[in-house]
């Protein structure tokens, strides 16, 4: 049975939604506490959920990036293990240098909480493998620091290596290139600002998130 580790930091608040989603998909879910190193070989997949890890102190994701659990996650990722970051998880993976770029304050200065239409820019074989290039999806967004930023040379590299995963059809936060999700060079680490775990049943308003695991 596929075993999925769900990381938990103080201030993580989407962990239970992710846990339920993992179980609903028929996988085995297990929480991983930020202060503990874990045996990464025991897991098939890791998820870094959303929230406000360490109260977003210093910079979103900066303190979580240096936690013991992230050391184990780093080993897992460098061995090719699939890692999915959602919202604050995306920020943590950027701060950990597992993904390029940074997430800064939304251009409009406001926290945005809404549904967003997304376009698949490049396909990912580990997460949402059934989504085809050019396909449109609808997912909830909820973030204050969601504007993807990278200096011009780094952004060029991201595009050249087909690392853009998803983009906002209506760029509500001023992300460069409307980028909503990216992948690392090897494509085993992927992250997005929208919340797939909040759109897995029709009663949630949409179920496009279901297939992201």
């Amino acid at each position: 049975m596929t075993k999925v580790g769900v990381l938990r930091f103080p201030g993580t608040n989407c962990d239970r939604d992710v846990f339920s989603w993992v179980e609903a998909r028929g996988f085995e879910a297990e929480y991983l506490w930020h202060l503990d190193l874990f045996e990464e070989k025991k897991y098939d997949l890791l998820v870094v959920p959303g929230g406000f890890s360490y109260g977003d102190y210093l910079r979103s994701g900066a303190l979580a990036a240096l936690s013991p659990a992230m050391k184990s996650l780093r080993r897992f990722a460098s061995a090719g293990g699939p890692v999915l970051g959602i919202c604050n998880g995306f920020q943590i993976l950027c701060e950990s240098h597992l993904l390029p770029g940074a997430l800064v304050k939304n251009e409009g200065r406001r926290f945005v909480d809404d549904w967003s239409e997304l376009e698949v820019v490049n396909e990912n074989s580990k997460f949402g493998a059934q989504f085809k290039k050019g396909q449109h999806l609808k997912l909830p967004i909820a973030h204050g620091d969601g504007r993807f930023y990278a200096p011009a040379d780094e952004l060029k590299k991201i595009y050249d290596q087909n690392q853009v995963w998803l983009r906002y059809v209506n760029n509500h936060n001023g992300s460069l290139g409307g980028i909503a999700g990216i992948m690392n060079e090897k494509k085993n680490v992927a992250a997005l600002m929208p919340h797939p775990e909040r759109a897995i049943y029709p009663w949630m308003g949409g179920q496009d998130g279901w297939g992201f695991l």
Binding site: L58, A62, L66, E107, E154
Partner: protein, 81 residues
Amino acid sequence: MAERTRIGVKIMPREVILDTQGRAIEQTLKLNGLPEASCRVGRFVELDLQVSSEKAKVQAEEIANKLLCNPLIETFEIKEL
């Protein structure tokens, strides 16, 4: 007596990054008769390190690069206090 050095690290957002706090302060300054004033907000961190001045500066530089500052979006300066 154990050595001790206090280091200040000033971290500022790069010009290309929207400084939301700075912009909000600018608006308040405008409302208070200073329409031309501009303002940027960063962060000041005091480190108390139990090493000599020379070593403290090296340590502080490492801490700033690894944790306190994200070089993509911020710059920092180090000063002994």
